[in-house]
Symmetry: C2
Subunit: 379 residues, 2 copies
Amino acid sequence: MAALTFDLQTTDSASKARAGKITTDHGEILTPIFMPVGTVGSVKAVTQKQLYEDVKAQIILGNTYHLYLRPTLDVLESAGGLHKFNGWHKPILTDSGGYQVFSLANNRKIKEEGVIFQSHIDGSKHLFSPERVMDIQRTIGGDIIMAFDECPPYPSDTKYAKTSMELTHRWLDRCFTQFNNTPDKYGYTQNLFPIVQGSTYKDLRKASSEYIASKGATGNAIGGLSVGEPEEMMYEICALCCDHLPVDKPRYLMGVGTPWNILENIALGVDMFDCVMPTRNGRNAMLFTSKGVINIDNKKWEKDFSPIDDGIDCDTSNYYSKAYLRHLIKSKEILGLTIASVHNLAFYLHLVTEARKHIQQGDFVSWKNEQVELLKTRL
Amino acid sequence: MAALTFDLQTTDSASKARAGKITTDHGEILTPIFMPVGTVGSVKAVTQKQLYEDVKAQIILGNTYHLYLRPTLDVLESAGGLHKFNGWHKPILTDSGGYQVFSLANNRKIKEEGVIFQSHIDGSKHLFSPERVMDIQRTIGGDIIMAFDECPPYPSDTKYAKTSMELTHRWLDRCFTQFNNTPDKYGYTQNLFPIVQGSTYKDLRKASSEYIASKGATGNAIGGLSVGEPEEMMYEICALCCDHLPVDKPRYLMGVGTPWNILENIALGVDMFDCVMPTRNGRNAMLFTSKGVINIDNKKWEKDFSPIDDGIDCDTSNYYSKAYLRHLIKSKEILGLTIASVHNLAFYLHLVTEARKHIQQGDFVSWKNEQVELLKTRL
């Protein structure tokens, strides 16, 4: 049992894109990678078998805030951790709960100590502090766990962004102290990734990246992007962060994004992504395909009996027709939500796998530029 | 391409239970059989792959009323029928829409000609007549299609029951005339099953069974049971109908029921069953298992990490724990609906497969009596 390692296999000569291999105690992850979001221990509407076989997921996310409230740590600890609880035996990453505390919980109060909030389910009061969040993630049992940070909204003024970043850094120190003072719980090694903040201010982002890099973690994350800022600004900030984060450690851009966002950020040096978009948009009739974006609700698909997407290696996308999926979504059938979610996730995994192939082949940038145009097409 | 045949393989010596084999142009069905209900062309929350591999379904149902309204006959005909539309390549049975017209549609008016009703979706007006319902089912493309009947409510007085039965018989004549005057649409043979009615009156049921038997159909159905009458009355009427329906044709008891209802009716000579109970109750946290009935919502399952049911051959039931399924259902996760539905359907298919085995072994009745007790147990 060993800490996460990152083998940087290829760096693109025409961009900063990288192909690599992350090794964890639950197996290997080929990068760049997209991680499906499994909020409460379930990737919404998708079975573990579909994740393994159709989506070909290599790692999934769990949300600390949700799992802490339901099924509760008591149940997760009795099960022997989240892998045993939900039957996902490949790597798991858990977020720190910070983002959900700010977006979902009620009556939250940020103090130096941590954040006091009320559950969105039953109104019960809780404290998330850096120490507590380390303990919680130890108990959930992710292979990669995230530092407790504050994610400032967009836009934030310089003063707020700086104060918030400094708090995030102090919390980070406390996270590492607690993490280093507590053992792995289930016999495999957990890894703590710190998170760069600093809103949209380059000087703050540079300082934060350098501070995060100084921690010598096995991997590093970029937070606080894709929160409403213009796309170009996201790319600019992400590029800056990547340039100041270690080359030999995986870089994880949190909560991003559309297929084209992912390709552009791969070009800037990002290795890991997560986003609810493929599942959430899928449930709302929006499909990302190898030929462009489809609103499957649209009447034009009513008699289109061609496969949802025959351009990717996914049984579900190849098996069901656009007309059938449209009918299911229009009729509010649960199966429609499953098929759309499996397809969109499989497409995201297909996309990062193709990106990796083109990085290794040496034609990533030209391929990426073509794909970005193509994938944005509204069919 | 040939009409449905029924090979009666074994008749139990201690009961009227039978093991047989139905052959259709879409393959064979071993009886007794349970048919999952695929209302609008989808067995709710279950993929076709799960139906093939986990549930091991041999035939599924489609509902004429629902499919006629959505996706509409125009779409189904363009697809080349329901099998091609939904990707289910084994046999399909469609009901006549009669039951849904009475239970779901608005402002229905029963006349000699047929039933005029308004769609529960958009209020549009439609007429279902025997002729129209034959044409609709021709277009949907079921391997087995059902006669258009009136299903009287329970209780009905003798006069209403008799008038209704006579209407059903006149409609049946018109169904056969239309059926015989129209060709198969998609290159395989469709089969029309007539339906015994007569409410809870033995003289009517006997007369109706004899009338239905006189039609010489490739299979026969018993309708109008499990509509609120006491269980013992259902068994009594079902036994009477079975005794007056041909021995050498499959007998289909419509809309029944619990696992123990199914076993008792197999003992009376029924070969085919359908019911929404496994999927509907599954979505409401009620599981039928090889050890009894489980309300998975119950706190007692919170830390029960044993498989949902290791007594049946279903990957889903063996893979996920009771605690995990409980968590999903409590958290209103879509995956919970899928797992519960797949499990309950797999259990129903397991049950009829076991029944068949015991009929062939010659110990059906003692096995059935044990199972009925066991399966009713509240765990």
